[in-house]
């Protein structure tokens, strides 16, 4: 699971009003380099919730992202590299995503977040 995906996931348990962002607890992750694409990063940037990205990246020991970001920063190569790396190059293999409201843990196994709900949660 990339941090891009983490950025897009919410807890959808019945009755939960504030299911975002899920807190990331990663036990095992890997880094796989991929080519940086400026257009993709520019296009996706407005759709990224910045704080959850920074927090999840920092929970993995990544400190290169600034606390806040605005579109003008996309002109900076350093910023783009950090954004690209956090968003697309880190793969969380094992761990959990925790619902901010209920504390329910959604496991991540073999890189796949399991967001399936139990019958009483639907």
């Amino acid at each position: 699971m990339r941090l891009l995906t983490h950025n897009m996931l919410s807890s959808n348990i019945k009755g939960v009003t504030n299911g975002y962002p899920l807190r990331l607890e990663a036990e095992k992750w890997s880094v796989k380099e991929v080519d940086l694409n400026r257009d993709f990063l520019t296009n996706i940037f407005p759709r990224i919730e910045w704080k959850p990205l920074v927090e999840s990246a920092r929970s993995l020991g990544l400190s290169s992202l600034p606390d806040d970001a605005d579109p003008s920063m996309l002109n900076s190569d350093d910023f783009l590299k950090g954004f690209h790396h956090a968003l697309l190059e880190i793969h969380v293999e094992e761990g959990a995503l925790i619902c901010p409201e209920t504390g329910r843990r959604f496991p991540i196994n073999k890189g796949i977040p399991n967001m399936l709900l139990h019958e009483d949660e639907v």
Partner: protein
């Protein structure tokens, strides 16, 4: 139309069909004279609880191939498969769009853990990356991915079955479609409407029993035009792969449209496959 990938028959050996194991496989089994053309995607992961590529999967991939030039011009940013099974379709899509520059990100969902794992393995084995999430349709992604997805592909559970078989554990969920095979399709359509970007496209497999013309009318009420990209028929059944797009999409104006008000099931049945091949190949 040029293809960088081979259009040879898919080298996947079909599993033997055990009685009662997979009604969907039986229903979508076609006469051998209709050959499957698809990207050369090899089955690298097999599990008794995961739906393996069958004629419906091949029809959907053929539809994507037939529309590949449009897809390339479409320049999608996010592509999504709902109910990815073994990952054959999303891997084929990623392969045929040949994205080596990371302009496109691929997502896939399933409710079957074995299927999710198989999709990871299939995509990895073909050098593409798909982000797989275990979730019901897109329930955990829908809020954030709203209006962001440019291409959605779905080979839904479309076989008419008793309602209680819908969404069962394991492989049953891959085909059991409830009344008229529409239970899951009817849940997927409003979700896709919410997910699709302004320029977004949906490609979906349907069976005649699903009343595809009614599906087109329902989507028409939501502002979508539609056309059949591929039709495959057997003596008993007929598969359609239908493409949907928002009417406002100017870029599509040159393309022929399904007149959603006048489409009828008989019209679907009469749609000539040869017409399709002439127009698109």
């Amino acid at each position: 139309m040029e293809h960088n990938i081979e259009l040879e028959s898919v080298s996947i050996s079909m599993p033997s069909i055990r009685a009662g194991e997979s009604e969907k496989r039986i229903m979508s089994k076609l006469p051998s004279k209709i050959t499957s053309r698809g990207a050369q995607i090899h089955l690298v992961s097999r599990h008794p609880e995961v739906y393996e590529p069958c004629d419906d999967s091949f029809a959907l991939v053929d539809a994507l191939l037939a529309d590949r030039t449009n897809l390339l011009e479409h320049k999608p940013m996010l592509c999504l498969e709902i109910g990815c099974g073994c990952g054959y379709i999303i891997t084929s899509l990623a392969t045929m769009l040949g994205d080596e520059t990371n302009t496109i990100q691929y997502f896939a969902t399933d409710i079957n853990p074995h299927a999710a794992e198989a999709t990871c393995k299939t995509s990895e084995a073909h050098g593409v990356h798909v982000e797989v999430v275990l979730t019901d349709i897109t329930s955990s992604l829908g809020k954030r991915l709203s209006r962001m997805v440019d291409v959605v592909v779905v080979n839904p559970p479309y076989v008419p079955t008793p309602e209680e078989e819908v969404g069962c554990e394991g492989i049953t969920a891959s085909w059991a479609g409830g009344e008229n095979g529409r239970s899951v399709i009817d849940r997927i359509l409003p979700v896709v409407d919410e997910l699709l970007s302004e320029k977004g496209w949906l490609y979906m497999v349907t069976l005649t029993a699903n009343k595809p013309s009614q599906i087109c009318r329902l989507m028409g009420e939501r502002g979508y035009a539609s056309r059949i990209v591929v039709q495959r028929s057997t003596e008993e059944e007929s598969l359609h792969v239908i493409k949907f797009w928002r009417e406002v999409d100017e870029a599509m104006k040159g393309q022929s449209r399904t007149a959603t008000q006048t489409a009828s099931d008989s019209w679907f049945l009469q749609f000539s496959r040869s017409t399709f091949w002439r127009r698109n190949n």
